[in-house]
């Protein structure tokens, strides 16, 4: 056996492994499983049709809400309330019963004022506090009958749940967001599905403007700062190609993990070598494992060989909430703010 086929096989094996770990990672972060994305266009179309079928008389409480047409969905031109008035009426809000199997979706639903429609949320939907989290609603494995028992009219999930269609229950698949736009689109989709179109649009624009303002107001150093985003204490990280990577990219930060997964074999979630990290010596260390793994600036500093790291000696370790730093919902703004604060207070010697 020569070395070549072997290392190729190692590659594909590690790819497989990385896939497993990546899936597990997503699960850990949001209790979701990500596989088949459904395009916003198709989803919006199906929503519109659905709304048309179920439509009745508009309720007073909903007079400024109406179903969005497909174009409106795509263009994010949701504030044109007149156009919406003309559309067929929304279904009776009292009839909307949502089961959210995605923690991010749960956050979004509550943020657009559709929290009342959520009759149950999965075991990982831990925010906001009044979300009807149900410990028995799990994604691993998913219990379809358990979901049905809540008599939902709509199930929001991050990956298609087999069997729901068979019993005629509407399913809205909102997969792991790859970009900011994905995240905004999902909020709008939820708005359309719940008749909270206006609130959804408002939330999106608010998030957009807030984030823009934070980025604008952050004084980034001339030399790009490097950072390490830690997913757990065995040094799993995310590269720039992931959603969180894009968050850091807003500030022009440089991700040290990119070297570990140049061709995406680890799906953007490589496990880093400690020696490599010590050598890479990132300016900033973001801990997205404070909840899961109890990591703090102190525990990081106590790791063997880490005491000499610049981020440790300079106090540039940022403790993030695991969920905030992994979900693409309304708290994205908090996440961006945290990064901004970190940069602002970063103690980076000029010589660096």
């Amino acid at each position: 056996m020569t070395n070549r086929p072997r290392s190729a096989a190692v590659g594909s094996l590690s790819k497989l492994l990385a896939l497993v770990l990546a899936l597990a990672l997503v699960a850990a972060a949001c209790g979701d499983d990500t596989t088949v994305p459904i395009t916003a266009e198709a989803q919006a179309a199906s929503d519109a049709i659905d709304a048309a079928e179920n439509g009745d008389e508009p309720e007073e409480a909903m007079e400024d809400e109406a179903i969005a047409d497909e174009d409106a969905m795509e263009d994010e031109a949701m504030e044109d309330e007149d156009a919406m008035e003309d559309e067929e009426a929304m279904e009776d809000s009292a009839d909307v019963r949502i089961v959210s199997m995605s923690p991010t979706a749960t956050e979004m639903l509550f943020a657009i004022g559709a929290g009342d429609y959520v009759v149950a949320a999965d075991n990982n939907s831990n925010f906001p506090a009044d979300a009807p989290t149900n410990a028995d609603l799990t994604n691993f494995p998913v219990n379809v009958e358990g979901i049905i028992s809540f008599e939902p009219t709509l199930v929001v999930t991050s990956s298609p749940i087999e069997g729901l269609a068979a019993v005629g229950i509407e399913e809205l698949v909102l997969p792991f967001a790859a970009t900011f736009d994905d995240a905004y689109t999902q909020i709008e989709q939820l708005g359309a599905a719940t008749g909270q179109i206006g609130e959804a649009a408002e939330l999106v624009s608010e998030m957009q403007s807030n984030i823009a303002a934070i980025v604008e107001g952050t004084d980034t150093p001339d030399t790009a700062l490097t950072y390490y985003h830690e997913l757990d204490d065995t040094l799993f990280s995310s590269t720039s190609s992931t959603f969180v990577g894009q968050v850091y990219a807003l500030f022009g930060l440089e991700n040290v993990a990119d070297a570990a997964d140049p061709d995406g074999e680890s799906f953007g979630f490589p496990q880093l070598n400690a020696e490599f990290l010590v050598t890479a010596d990132p300016d900033l260390i973001f801990l997205a494992d404070t909840v899961c793994c109890g990591q703090t600036a102190e525990t990081v500093a106590a790791r063997p060989g880490w005491d000499a790291l610049a981020a440790v000696t300079n106090g540039n370790i940022i403790e993030l909430n695991d969920d905030v730093a992994s979900r693409w919902g309304p708290r994205l703004v908090d996440y961006v703010q945290a990064i901004s604060d970190a940069i602002a207070t970063a103690n980076v010697p000029v010589a660096n």
Partner: protein, 354 residues
């Protein structure tokens, strides 16, 4: 007559030690960070005898060698030796070529212990050592204990019915399987109820020396030293056990007492290794077999040679794990299985065709 009883040859020990030293040297000088090779070796001696050598490395390089590479290499040696000698012992005690150190539920027990620690947020790394290690260790030992109690209860029933002693080893293995299934079931349940910890659990289950430091070495070293020292001279007893419980008893061996002692020591050793390194697969199965095929089938040879070969093998496997996809880590279980299995087949073939 110049036939001699099976015994270890000096040349094997010399060769084995050379292999281990070579593995250590390789594992020390190769890494994601390029460091001057002689400097690494000098620094390693300096770490052993602080202040006696000047390696000429930068502080950061010194730290990498002393705090990252060296403990990882040492832990690899310890874990490899521990799993291999435990595997050899289990294979001998149960006269089962498929036996490995995880036979009596150590893996499942360790997995459950670790999962409990993760799920209840005990694995926070606070304090001097990790509670995950404590729980994994406790879980592993309780699984073996449970298997032992169940297996003995079952075999007592069999012996009362006039069945032969042979059945007690079988009962124990079956009890181990039952306990392992049971513990795995609980572990899966906990994991399923706490999906936010799922990745930590998976990572642990795959095993590895990724984040190990001197703490792990200090935890494992005393137990490993004592257990290995106790198991090393047990080869002759394993040879006696090879003729079956009945015959071994008639040859004057207190079979159940010997088996209990060996299982306890080997389990303790395995549980300790598992606690600091997770479930590293294949080592405990393949190394004793490889030794058997290369050096001879007497446990007087297999047991000590497994220690040497296992230590070197795991050190080299970990070297591959941290350099193959550098700077990314490859789970070591993937390496041991991926290189161990074909390597074993090659050895098996040459041994058969001999």
């Amino acid at each position: 007559m110049n036939a001699r009883p099976a015994s270890i040859r000096v040349s094997w020990i010399v060769g084995g030690v050379a292999f281990v030293l070579g593995s250590i040297a390789l594992a020390l000088v190769i890494g994601p960070t390029p460091i001057d090779r002689s400097g690494v070796l000098i620094e390693s001696f300096d770490a052993a005898l602080p202040g006696s050598f000047d390696s000429g490395l930068t502080d950061q390089q010194q730290s990498i060698v002393a705090n990252l590479r060296l403990p990882r290499v040492v832990l690899g040696l310890l874990v490899g030796a521990s799993l291999s000698i435990s595997g050899a012992t289990f294979q001998g005690v149960f006269r089962n070529p498929l036996a490995d150190p995880y036979l009596l539920g150590v893996a499942a027990g360790g997995g459950l212990g670790a999962t409990i620690a993760f799920v209840y947020g005990l694995g926070d790394g606070q304090g001097w050592f990790d509670l995950v290690q404590v729980f994994a260790f406790a879980g592993a030992l309780s699984a073996v204990f449970l298997a032992w109690v169940m297996g003995n209860a079952a075999s007592a029933g069999v012996t009362e019915l006039g069945g032969d002693r042979q059945s007690s080893a079988t009962s124990l293995i079956l009890a181990g399987v039952a306990v392992a299934s049971f513990f795995t079931a609980i572990q899966s349940f906990l994991q399923q109820r706490n999906t936010e910890d799922i990745r930590q659990v998976y990572t642990w289950l795959l095993g590895g020396l990724t984040t190990s430091g001197w703490t792990e070495v200090i935890l494992l070293l005393p137990i490993a030293t004592i257990c290995v020292a106790l198991l090393l001279p047990s080869g002759r007893m394993l040879d006696v056990l090879a003729v079956g419980d009945d015959e071994a008893t008639m040859l004057g061996m207190s079979v159940n007492r010997v088996r209990l002692a060996l299982v306890v020591i080997a389990s303790l050793l395995t549980a300790s290794a598992v606690a600091v390194s997770g479930l590293i697969a294949f080592v405990g199965l393949i190394i004793p077999h490889t030794v058997r095929l290369v050096f001879g089938s007497s446990y007087r040879i297999i047991v000590p040679m497994s220690v040497i070969v296992g230590a070197g093998f795991l050190t080299l496997s970990d070297l591959v794990a941290r350099t193959a996809l550098s700077p990314s880590e490859l789970p070591i279980g993937v390496v041991t299985a991926f290189f161990g299995a074909p390597f074993f087949v090659v050895i098996l073939r040459t041994a058969v065709s001999r």
